[in-house]
């Protein structure tokens, strides 16, 4: 099926994380027609996988809810989920875009009652929890998902589970004949808000992420804190499900390292400082955190957050890039080896759990953009010289925290609006 919508006065936003949602909403609330295309079944991006936000330690679900209300209330904004852009041709003010939309097998009738999930049996890796647990083949990606509609995993199509899901639905929302669709759009400006992905920690061989159960990543640690997450909101060791009370955080796991990511991912220092408060929240005086760092980069206004964590006597700081990790026989405790550069003392420190503060890298490989996009040496999108109708927003442009990503997204919405206005006027 081919469907043509939008005009060259519209703005296309690719990626529905916090940056894409912001850019789309700002433009739509200024009266522009906006199409927001998201690859996964729901909006929110990586922010929906965080437990709390630094620096205020509030829950991201709150801001996400405000944003989904704004989306629901806005007639100018159209959201297309499970869709990716295949091709973009044309120039600023006039781009032709081709989009492929994957079937969800669930239509708008869905009330998110969950009967289909109860009926099916097959289980799949749960991407929302970084594959730390399994989910059903009929699922809501996460509790606060927008849109609040279930999804059937393509893996159950053609199996008994698909029929069971259909039979269980009282609202006629399961549509097993749904097909892949192509959508053609004409838009005036494009915003890339495709975000970031965590650096693959298995590449850092001396840390043994792929060998030791009790070495996890910072993004996995966030999932452990979610009451509906893989551990039911408890900080547990993957090897034996024991409470992990003595936790090491290793900074620059993949960042600032020419062997891996050359750039500083900028947010990881704050993320680990924040995560030490999770340890204290959960285990009070029994919770101990140790941060191994090269230097702490609590950028600008965040200095006082750093000072507060430093004042906590249960949190220690060791100035050292950890050289390697081994596993203690019997206990499964990871042992960190290195030299504390303040005094040049060697250490071999055992902890219950190690959290690698992994770096942020662009989620789209620079070769994989469906149109020529200028990137810097790290793969983040740059503004080309001269005039353009394509802009980057949020982490597609740099490693940013939410505050900066949102500011950056608002700026790109304004730039896109300027392009659209310029072209619509010259055409009058």
């Amino acid at each position: 099926m081919t469907d043509t919508i939008a005009t060259n006065e519209s703005i296309l936003v690719i990626g529905g994380g916090i940056s894409g949602m912001t850019a789309a909403l700002e433009a739509a609330e200024c009266g522009k027609q906006v199409i927001l295309v998201e690859k996964t079944p729901s909006l929110g991006g990586r922010v929906s996988q965080l437990y709390k936000y630094f620096p205020k330690l509030c829950h991201p679900t709150c801001g996400m809810e405000i944003n989904s209300r704004r989306i629901k209330a806005n007639k100018n904004l159209r959201v297309i989920t499970m869709a990716e852009v295949d091709e973009i041709t044309g120039n600023a003010g006039n781009y032709n875009v081709s989009i492929t939309k994957q079937p969800r097998y669930i239509n708008d009738n869905c009330t998110a009652c969950g009967e289909c999930a109860n009926a099916v049996e097959a289980k799949f890796d749960n991407e929302h929890n970084y594959n730390m647990d399994k989910r059903k083949g009929a699922y809501l990606p996460f509790n606060m998902a927008y849109p609040q509609r279930y999804v059937l995993d393509s893996g159950i199509i053609g199996t008994d589970d698909a029929d069971k899901a259909k039979a269980a639905c009282r609202y006629d929302a399961v549509d097993l004949d749904m097909q892949k669709e192509t959508v053609q759009l004409n838009v005036g400006a494009v915003i890339w808000a495709t975000g970031w992905q965590p650096f693959d920690a298995a590449n850092i061989q001396p840390y043994g992420y792929d060998r030791y159960d009790n070495v996890i990543t910072s993004v996995e640690f966030e999932r452990m804190m979610d009451d509906f997450g893989p551990t039911g909101g408890k900080i547990l060791r993957p090897s034996d499900n024991k409470e992990a009370k003595n936790i090491a955080f290793i900074q620059c796991a993949g960042s600032r390292d020419r062997n891996y990511l050359k750039h500083c991912s900028r947010i990881c220092c704050m993320a680990s400082l924040k995560q030490t408060t999770y340890v204290r929240e959960q285990y009070a005086d029994d919770g101990k955190a140790t941060i191994y760092y090269i230097d702490i980069r609590a950028i600008d206004r965040f200095e006082d957050f750093y000072a507060k964590v430093q004042a906590d006597t249960n949190v220690s700081f060791i100035k050292s890039k950890v050289a390697s990790i081994t596993e203690e026989r019997g206990t499964g405790n990871p042992v960190l080896h290195g030299v504390n550069t303040e005094g040049y003392d060697r250490y071999d420190n055992a902890h219950d759990l190690v959290v690698l503060a992994v770096g942020m890298q662009p989620s789209v490989d620079r070769e994989k953009f469906p149109v020529e996009v200028i990137t810097n040496e790290h793969g983040f999108i740059e503004r080309p010289e001269g005039s353009t109708g394509m802009f980057a927003a949020g982490c597609a442009s740099d490693a940013l925290d939410v505050n900066r990503a949102v500011q950056n997204a608002t700026a790109s919405a304004l730039r896109a609006i300027q392009v659209v206005n310029r072209f619509s006027k010259t055409e009058v």
Partner: protein, 208 residues
């Protein structure tokens, strides 16, 4: 050599880092160290050094010339390359260690009775004699490097290895009589002499 040391002190007064950059192999990398400590933590001989690499780099920047150049640290490097592989800034640390050792040797600042340095000298003398390494002589010299008693002990300990090498033709007893050689020994020595002259001239110029 002592003379060269004084000249260098004069020339690079207060800037040992510049001295290292100009005279030590790969020395221009030293300023790139960000003191993360991964090299020190990764060094298998780390516990036995006076100063692990990243501390040496800091000492160089702090102008601790005497302490660095007379240190036994860089002589402890076994070229395992762990540090190079893990250095986030890709500093050629192993090579810098050898560069520092070499420079200290030139200036006559090697700590007394330094074992690595002693063996290096034995190896050099052995090799330059005929243009080929004489393994038998080198082995014996190494065993007796620290005195007659030590030498006998070491030879007895290694006896089986030696005999097996002889048996399998990996070592010839006739090597003791002079040993195999390259064809044009005279030319080879002339070449080394020339290289030394060039090198000395370069240093004289730098030192001037």
């Amino acid at each position: 050599m002592g003379n060269l040391n004084t000249t260098m002190i004069e020339k690079y007064r207060n800037s040992f880092l510049h001295e290292v950059e100009a005279n030590v192999e790969e020395g221009e990398w030293v300023k790139m160290c960000m003191q993360c400590g991964v090299c020190s933590g990764s060094c298998p001989l780390g516990p036995h050094w006076d100063h692990p690499p990243q501390e040496l780099f800091m000492m160089i920047r702090a102008g601790k010339r005497e302490e660095v150049l007379t240190s036994s640290s860089m002589w402890m490097c076994t070229s395992c390359y762990n540090c190079i592989v893990r250095c986030p800034r890709e500093l050629p640390i192993t090579h810098i260690m050898h560069g520092l050792a070499h420079y200290a040797k030139r200036l006559g600042l090697v700590p007394e009775n330094q074992q690595t340095e002693k063996f290096a000298q034995l190896f050099w003398d052995n090799l330059t004699n005929t243009g080929r390494v004489n393994e038998l002589k080198l082995g014996l010299k190494l065993y007796f490097m620290n005195g007659f008693g030590e030498g006998i002990k070491m030879s007895l300990k290694m006896q089986d290895v030696g005999l097996n090498m002889l048996k399998t033709g990996r070592m010839s007893p006739f090597e003791l009589l002079g040993g195999h050689s390259i064809k044009d020994k005279t030319g080879f020595h002339a070449m080394l002499q020339k290289a030394k002259e060039l090198e000395d001239a370069k240093i004289a110029k730098h030192g001037a």
